[in-house]
């Protein structure tokens, strides 16, 4: 009897990894845009990690004899009003964008997914409370919520991370809660309960792996949004304080010289476009691969 329950309780351990691996492979073969997305994003990550190698100048080094120089051999993407090298600033700016985006979304993923699973699995007043809180936060668009938090707390990397996280948490709660509610009724979870597994063990070992793919899709799509929101806040003037190079901040400064020196604003804009586009491509590709509706149709 117990043995039968044990069998039922254990979702074949390899299925989850297999599901993801198979989905990834299918995506990679069927969806060229996802490969492009992954390659672009990895390239940006490598550039950010090895920024000193890729930068040709010190991003903060002012060269007052070379102010507002158009793209040339020594300054690939030109220089800004202080004579700082745009390419090098973009390279170092990638670090800020990626760190804020990854930490904020990572945090939101952990907090949001946990709350969502707890809410969906336990139900009752816990679910009521968490859902109500989610609805309130969802009433704010991420940019306005971020703006509010940063405006009142002050622009610093931890505050920006907190603001973007707060705006992203409800999205993960929503994505985790619904499938958890459906899983709770499935036989293998019922079997776990009958075996007397603790709720924590069920949630962590049996529910989480099953909703993980959906969480990953959300993660990549919201990482794109987080990077866009961070850049937008910096453009408004609520980014990491100058002279630190941030893409949004560079566009803000470049915008003042837009009529005479377009390269100041255009190149960091392209940098944002590349990263956000790459992440959206990855998220889309993952979603296509994991969407059961699309699977049934044999694609």
């Amino acid at each position: 009897m117990t043995a039968a329950l044990e069998t039922a309780a254990a979702p074949p351990p390899r299925t989850i990894g297999l599901r993801l691996a198979r989905a990834l492979w299918k995506t990679a073969t069927a969806n060229a845009s996802m490969i492009v997305g992954v390659v672009l994003f990895l390239a940006v990550v490598v550039i950010a990690i090895f920024a000193p190698v890729f930068a040709t100048h010190d991003p903060l080094d002012q060269d007052l004899l070379a102010r507002l120089v158009p793209p040339t051999y020594s300054h690939w993407l030109g220089t800004d009003a202080f004579g700082r090298d745009i390419w090098s600033r973009i390279v170092y700016g990638a670090r800020i964008s990626l760190v804020i985006g990854l930490v904020a979304v990572g945090l939101a993923m952990i907090v949001g997914t946990s709350l969502g699973i707890v809410s969906g699995y336990l139900g009752g007043w816990v679910d009521q409370a968490i859902s109500q809180g989610t609805n309130i936060l969802l009433a704010f668009p991420s940019l306005i919520l971020g703006l509010m938090v940063v405006a009142f707390l002050g622009p610093s990397i931890p505050n920006l991370i907190a603001a973007i996280s707060l705006a992203t948490i409800p999205q993960f709660i929503r994505v985790a809660r619904a499938p958890t509610m459906a899983l709770r009724e499935r036989d293998f979870i019922q079997a776990c309960r009958a075996l007397g597994y603790s709720p924590l063990r069920i949630m962590l070992r049996h529910i989480l792996p099953n909703i993980w793919p959906e969480i990953m899709v959300m993660g990549s799509l919201w990482l794109a949004t987080a990077i866009r929101v961070e850049a937008s806040l910096a453009f408004i003037g609520l980014g990491v304080k100058p002279p630190t190079a941030t893409w949004g901040g560079m566009i803000r400064e470049g915008f003042e010289q837009i009529l005479t020196s377009f390269w100041l604003a255009v190149f960091p804009s392209l940098a944002i476009l590349v990263v956000v586009l790459a992440l959206n491509m990855i998220g889309d590709g993952l979603r296509d691969a994991l969407d059961p509706r699309l699977k049934e149709e044999g694609r």
Partner: protein
């Protein structure tokens, strides 16, 4: 329908209350003394004490919240410490521009999004589908200010078709519309991208339904199946998404207004940020959330119109 509308209105009340609590809490967790922050380092202790008194910061926190709440209910959103004008009158001056922009970009979004989405779904994995999908992905990935700057460089600076700075005050209707074109496209592209994607997936789902096959089998022409059977059903999720993203639209209007130097709530916020005008910021936050709640309410109502089933639920 009236009962449905009233019910939705009642549901908005707890949300509004919670949002007000959130705004209030946020404005009270500012590190340091707000009065000190507003007046700067050079302020005398008396001036700070006066301002604290004026802002009601010496009262117990629950009384402050009560005052805030009663004020909001009476339409008092605070007073600017820079200009001395009430937030409501400041906002009332520029609200029409922001609404004008939001509505215009919504129109742009629907006019481009729905047909492209449907077209893409009808040619699944064909060339139109691929082009539309790539286009919508790019539209989704462009921050509003990036696209706005590009449009500004090409059409205003290089070609000179549109003004670089939006005119304010009393100008002719033509000048007003002319100044609206680029901002509406900037903001509308984002909306169009979202709408295209949702229309596409919703349309794909509907096209796979049995009733479509039935309609085809009984000999209804293809374009009529699409127009009368498929699109009508596919549009329902689109309405929800439009509502969901109205908030995003209002949020991104801040960026668009900055780029095109348009008067509006966004410019008001940015100005208040630069001058540390905390009462105005707080008031505008409340105003923004009310706008978004109204937008959600309108969406729910539109949903009732498009989908008769929910009215009787």
């Amino acid at each position: 329908m009236a009962r449905y509308a009233l019910l939705k209105l009642l549901y908005a009340i707890p949300t509004l209350l919670s949002v007000l609590i959130l705004v209030f809490v946020l404005t009270r967790v500012i590190p340091g003394d707000p009065a000190q922050l507003i007046l700067g380092d050079q302020a005398t202790p008396e001036a700070i004490a006066n301002l604290r008194d004026q802002l009601g910061l010496n009262q117990p926190i629950w009384l402050q919240f009560l005052h805030f709440l009663v004020g909001v209910l009476h339409g008092d959103f605070g007073t600017s410490i820079v200009s001395g004008q009430s937030v409501v009158s400041l906002a009332a001056n520029v609200l029409p521009s922001t609404l004008e922009l939001t509505i215009a970009s919504l129109v742009v979004g629907i006019v481009f999004g729905v047909p492209f989405g449907a077209w893409s779904a009808m040619h699944r994995n064909g060339i139109p589908d691929i082009v539309v999908r790539i286009g919508s992905l790019i539209g989704l990935s462009l921050p509003a200010f990036v696209f706005g700057i590009m449009l500004l460089i090409v059409f205003s600076v290089q070609l000179g078709w549109f003004p670089v700075i939006s005119p304010s005050g009393n100008v002719s209707l033509f000048a007003r519309l002319q100044a609206l074109v680029l901002p509406a496209i900037t903001l509308g592209i984002l909306m169009a991208a979202y709408i295209t994607r949702v229309t596409r997936s919703s349309m794909l789902q509907v096209l796979g339904e049995d009733f479509i096959r039935t309609a085809r089998a009984k000999g209804v022409p293809w374009w009529q199946v699409v127009r009368r059977h498929a699109l009508r059903n596919a549009i329902i999720p689109v309405v929800t998404v439009v509502g969901l993203y109205l908030g995003v639209l209002i949020g991104n209007s801040v960026l668009t207004e900055m780029v095109f130097n348009r008067p509006g709530l966004g410019k008001l916020i940015v100005g208040a940020l630069a001058q540390r005008d905390y009462p105005v910021l707080q008031g505008l936050m409340v105003l923004y959330t009310i706008l978004i709640i109204i937008a959600n309410l309108l969406t729910d109502l539109a949903y009732g119109v498009f989908n008769p089933r929910v009215r009787f639920a």
